[in-house]
């Protein structure tokens, strides 16, 4: 009687085919046994009724030593490692006439069984198994005759066993000597530093060893050794291996609030790896490297939590690795639109669609105006709605995948979710150049005009690099210096297919801030509104205060707004520590008052005589302008991120408002608060200036021109 031993490495997708084959074998009088790597009763109950089905011993049954060994082994070898230790398999493989692999995961196990039992046929698939059975049935005598070449195991088995045992031993030694425990020993760390820099070691091994060793050094608390080793190995590694080795070191430094000097080496390496995958037409594998490069380049420690930013200092140079990479070029490729944006036809209302829900802080007056305006129909697309959220989920990853591949399923989903809204609208207004804008430009907007407003933080983020600007008609900035920065950082904004750019100040209803000051002594109260980011730099205000109090102790500082959250980053934590130390002394003497957050800012400003802008960077600084509207004398630090540029705080505000140092600020304050009359006059002039320049009653005309009139050329 013919006996078959089948092996299944995965749950079969086609159970009917399997049971049909088992029935055929049974009809031929063949004994069939099946070994599976999974639970057959649960996954193939029908097969258990037609054959003797046996599950290979599990890792839990084989013990912890096996688990460790299996973990080290190539995953494809694991079924065989289990089968090898199974007496049931050994017994029935010895008796089998035909050994059958039913799927690719079972091939290796059957290959090994075939080497050990050379009398049996060893085939892949059901039809070949049936053929083998037919052949044996047709000439049983031929297969009974013993032959030299089918007796005993193949010599290759012995060689293979010795080789795999040796390999396993070598792996165990390597794992132990590079593990966390070993890295606590100085001589071991010294040894590996020498080993990874030794000549002649192939790069893939050098890179793999160095990565494991540095990783475990970091985890065992030896960051300095890890950095030393990674740097020592750099000279012997190619550009794509260098970066991943420095990756954990850069991460460790960022987590301490430091910008690593090797940051851009790692960025370049990831972009190069991404380029390699793109060349092989594998955008899926390129995407994680692009995301990693973005995470590093636009990390908050790098761009937001320092007194300067490499992007603001030299945008072209900082972003050159991105723009010069294949991945950067793929993401920058304009997809364009099939039809140009059309101005709404006469005879029906102008339909405007506003993206809302993510941050509507600066949208209120604009929405109110157009919702109340005859001849305009407004709809809001709330991106926080449950029906929209799935489209936005994992948004950045999906946008990157889409841009690298040129198409994506997510784009179809965006089309399905947002397409009807776009079809309805004549104009879509997207406040903030972030996820909403990037996802919107994944699809062709048809004839709808697309307007995007970029405030400030977005220019220091990846979003402008993930937005297809050939599908945006108008890009609005709130200040000229932000426009300069964005144009330098994203060169395709200036390309022929790029959007028209406009500068329109924020919509602010300033009249509600015009309230009388409580007393003449208010002139000695400096005010700083908004403290929740490190960029506001309240310590600069303290420097001004100290300078003033050195001359006149009546000056005090009122801090309005939420305090900085030290948990946001180690850099903020360090800043808050120093700020708190300074405040401890000044608060106790009553020189500084912290009011916290208030909903009544006009009320809080009634006793503020001097309004400060101490920020490192701002796009416009509404709080300063609101303070000036209240009659407080404005004093503006020349925001360091933009100081000395063609456009800066000095070109945005009247030049006498802007100062370079705390000493200059103190001089201006002393001069303008010398007497009540001087102070009130200066306050009145500042208030008149802001109301006539930036009040919504003035700036709304710019919005009307942008949104209601046929597009003109760029400002």
């Amino acid at each position: 009687m013919i006996e078959i031993l089948m092996v299944m490495g995965t749950v079969p997708g086609r159970v009917a085919v399997l049971t049909d084959a088992l029935e055929q074998f049974r009809a031929k009088g063949v004994i069939v046994r099946v070994a599976t790597t999974f639970d057959p009763v649960e996954n193939t109950p029908a097969a258990t009724e037609l054959a003797e089905v046996h599950r290979l011993p599990t890792s839990a049954e084989l013990g912890s030593r096996f688990v460790r060994m299996a973990k080290r082994a190539n995953p494809a070898r694991r079924p065989w490692l289990r089968a090898q230790r199974d007496p049931w398999v050994r017994r029935h493989a010895k008796r089998a006439d035909v050994l059958v692999a039913l799927d690719a995961h079972a091939l290796h196990t059957v290959w090994h069984l075939a080497q050990r039992h050379r009398r049996a046929d060893a085939v892949y698939g059901i039809a070949p198994a049936l053929r083998a059975v037919e052949k044996r049935s047709a000439d049983p005598a031929r297969y009974r005759r013993p032959r030299l070449n089918t007796t005993g195991p193949a010599p290759v088995v012995l060689a293979s066993a010795t080789r795999s045992q040796t390999v396993d031993l070598a792996k165990r030694v390597f794992e132990m000597s590079t593990g966390k425990r070993a890295m606590k020993l100085g001589p071991v760390r010294w040894f590996w530093q020498g080993a990874v820099t030794a000549p002649g070691l192939p790069e893939r091994h050098r890179g793999r060893i160095a990565r494991r060793v540095t990783g475990n050094m970091l985890e065992s608390g030896h960051a300095a050794s890890a950095k030393r080793l990674a740097l020592a190995a750099q000279g012997r590694l190619g550009p794509t291996t260098r970066g991943p080795l420095l990756d954990p070191i850069v991460d460790a430094e960022l987590s301490q609030g430091k910008v690593s000097e090797h940051l851009m080496t790692v960025v370049r390496s990831h972009l190069k790896l991404a380029d390699g995958f793109l060349k092989k037409r594998n955008p899926g594998k390129a995407e994680p490297h692009v995301l990693r490069a973005f995470n590093l380049m636009f990390h908050r420690i790098v761009q937001f939590d320092g007194t300067t930013s490499p992007l603001a200092e030299d945008p072209e140079k900082f972003l050159a690795p991105l723009h010069d990479s294949e991945a950067g070029r793929a993401m920058a490729a304009p997809r364009g639109r099939q039809s140009p944006a059309a101005f709404p036809p006469a005879g029906r209302p102008h339909r405007m669609l506003f993206f809302t829900g993510l941050n509507d802080n600066f949208l209120g007056p604009i929405l109110d105006r157009y919702e109340a305006m005859p001849g305009v129909e407004v709809r809001r697309l709330n991106l926080r709605e449950e029906s929209i959220l799935p489209v936005l989920s994992n948004g950045r990853t999906n946008v990157v995948q889409h841009l690298l591949a040129g198409s994506s399923k997510r784009a179809d989903e965006v089309q399905e979710a947002w397409g009807p809204h776009l079809d309805w609208a004549d104009t879509v207004f997207v406040d903030w150049c972030n996820l909403g804008a990037a996802m919107l430009t994944m699809i062709d907007p048809g004839t709808t005009r697309v307007v995007v407003r970029l405030h400030s933080f977005e220019a220091f983020s990846w979003w402008p690099h993930l937005t297809d600007w050939s599908r945006v008609d108008d890009l609005v900035f709130v200040s000229e210096h932000l426009r300069d920065l964005a144009l330098a950082a994203v060169p395709r904004l200036g390309a022929p297919q790029g959007p028209r750019t406009h500068m329109i100040n924020n919509a602010m209803e300033l009249h509600r801030y015009v309230t009388p000051k409580v007393s003449a002594d208010s002139r000695f109260t400096l005010g700083l509104v908004g403290l929740s980011s490190l960029a506001k730099d309240p310590r600069w205000a303290l420097a001004v205060l100290r300078e003033l109090r050195r001359r006149d102790e009546r000056y005090r500082l009122k801090l309005i707004g939420d305090a900085l959250d030290p948990k946001l980053s180690p850099a903020i934590e360090a800043y808050v520590r120093e700020l708190d130390a300074e405040l401890a002394e000044l608060e106790s003497s009553g020189a500084v008052v912290r009011t916290g957050r208030t909903d009544d800012v006009p009320g809080a400003l009634t006793d503020v005589g001097v309004i400060l802008s101490t920020s490192l960077r701002e796009s416009f600084h509404c709080a300063l302008v609101e303070g000036a509207a209240s009659g407080a004398v404005p004093v503006v630090r020349d925001w360091p991120f933009f100081a000395g540029r063609p456009h800066s705080a000095r070109t945005l505000f009247p030049s006498d408002w802007v100062v370079g140092t705390p000493e200059e600020a103190a001089e201006r304050i002393l001069a303008l608060t010398a007497s009540e009359e001087v102070w009130r006059e200066a306050g009145r002039a500042a208030s008149a200036h802001v109301l006539s320049t930036w009040d919504w009653s003035v700036t709304q005309k710019d919005f009307d021109r942008l949104l209601l009139e046929p597009p003109a050329t760029a400002d």
């Binding site: 692999a101 060893a122 698939g125």
Partner: protein
């Protein structure tokens, strides 16, 4: 990479026949009988027609064992081959379809997919065609050896595989042997997705351009493909000719009668199941609903005959799973049918189901055979399909309804009504419509044209036109 190379040195070609002044034609036809492939019918008739036209024909194909890995063998096909045709079988095998695990290396057993990917990569380095590209050196060597043994006057190459073109070019390049390319479904046209398979500037594009430029004649199986090539190579338009697949009269029953009212209907499909799984699923859904809704189909059966899957997946792929699950709906899977027994199959079927992939560039061979039976035809293919063009004048056709299961349900119901109601006159009218597509009728003019082009008007022997199928019937001992 392929077993053929190692076996090559021991290859002994059959002795060339010397028939006086008859010119020598080599027919490079991988898939020649006894390969159980649908292309074998066209190849058999092509060789026979050239033999009848006065050529000494040497057909070059691959070893019988190689077909065992694919769809198997049908020795009844060889019975219809003209005895004067010499068949050379090269020891070339598809390594990707190997199922003997003993022949695997451990690395292949460990990472089978990677091995296959690498194999394809290596094939592409030799010739821009995965799977077959690696056969190029062996094919080139074989043709040169055949030419050395006896001068070749004409080479007829039929694709696929397209690697045949490399060997064809070799013989042209070294010995200026004129050649005809029987392109059948073309190369640069993607007949499945209705578009361009590759650019003219690509490696494949460059091969195609140079091969077609020097060819004596270029044949295609239908007008849309021929038009594609005429538009792609307008300077070569004069060489293009449509040579439809047609049908073999020997496979068609002499008479088809309406189904008796007391017998359940039998629908049939004959052909390799290489169509997309969703297409088969849609047909089975349509069939299930029709059977449930229409009393005329209550006990009806749907017999599916043909090869399912290749290599390790033979009889064990998604198609097989779907068909077995449909057994409760009266779907029977009967395996492949020897060519000589096809006539019996059609005799007991009441209607046929034409399941074909592709679109406007695809016709398939079975559409002609189905028409010739005079049975009602249910079309299960895209509406914009060349089979629709061919069937448009066939009176017992249920129409091109696309692949919507609900529409297919209606088509099955219409076919059931036709199977019961169509009388002998209607069936005869339907069969008469198909007669123009007899295989011989398609090939004789093309063979005559090529013969005259290569040997001059008159040629050695002009092929005798005979009533469609009579020659094959006679050869197969049937009347």
């Amino acid at each position: 990479m392929n077993n053929g190379r190692t076996l090559w040195d021991s290859l002994k070609l059959p002795r060339p026949r010397r028939s006086g002044a008859r010119p020598h034609l080599v027919y490079l036809a991988i898939g020649f009988p006894p390969a159980a492939k649908s292309c074998a019918y066209r190849m058999r008739e092509t060789a026979n027609q050239f033999a009848a036209a006065g050529w000494d024909v040497t057909a070059v194909t691959i070893a019988d064992e190689a077909w065992e890995r694919e769809h198997g063998l049908d020795h009844t096909l060889s019975q219809g081959v003209d005895p004067s045709v010499r068949v050379v079988k090269l020891p070339l095998f598809r390594d990707d379809l190997e199922t003997d695990i003993r022949s695997f290396t451990e690395q292949r057993a460990l990472a089978h997919k990677d091995y296959l990917a690498e194999l394809r990569k290596q094939d592409l380095k030799v010739f821009p065609e995965p799977v077959f590209g690696g056969w190029r050196p062996a094919l080139e060597k074989a043709l040169l050896q055949i030419h050395r043994e006896r001068h070749v006057d004409l080479l007829v190459t039929t694709c696929a595989p397209y690697v045949n073109l490399a060997a064809t070019w070799k013989l042209w390049e070294t010995h200026r042997v004129p050649y005809v390319v029987d392109f059948r479904d073309g190369w640069s046209v993607d007949v499945i997705n209705n578009g361009e398979a590759f650019f003219r500037e690509s490696v494949s594009g460059q091969w195609e351009t140079k091969l077609l430029t020097a060819a004596v004649a270029i044949w295609n199986v239908n007008e849309p493909i021929s038009r594609w090539y005429r538009e792609r190579y307008p300077e070569l338009a004069h060489k293009m000719r449509v040579v439809r697949n047609g049908y073999d009269a020997a496979s068609i029953p002499a008479q088809v009668r309406p189904a008796p009212p007391d017998r359940p209907l039998t629908f049939g499909y004959l052909g390799a199941l290489t169509l997309p799984v969703p297409l088969l699923d849609a047909v089975l859904q349509g069939w299930r609903t029709a059977r449930a809704e229409d009393p005329a189909l209550a006990d009806a059966r749907f017999e599916v005959r043909g090869h399912i899957g290749t290599g390790w997946a033979r009889g064990a792929n998604a198609h097989a799973e779907l068909l077995r699950a449909a057994a409760v709906d009266g779907v029977l899977v009967g395996g492949s049918v020897p060519k000589a027994e096809v006539v019996d199959l059609y005799s007991r079927w009441d209607a046929v189901v034409l399941m074909v992939t592709g679109g406007r560039y695809m016709t398939s061979g079975k559409v002609y055979e189905y028409m010739a039976t005079g049975l009602p035809v249910v079309s299960a293919h895209e509406a914009d399909h060349d089979a629709s063009t061919v069937l448009s004048t066939y009176p017992l056709w249920t129409g091109a309804v696309g692949l919507d299961p609900a529409e297919l349900t209606s088509a099955f119901r219409r076919a059931a009504a036709m199977a019961r109601a169509a009388d002998a006159a209607e069936r005869e009218k339907a069969r008469a419509e198909a007669r123009q597509y007899a295989r011989e009728e398609q090939l004789i003019p093309a063979v005559r044209e090529v013969t005259e082009l290569v040997l001059g008007a008159g040629g050695p022997t002009a092929p005798q036109s005979s009533p469609a199928g009579a020659r094959v019937l006679a050869r197969e001992g049937r009347s």
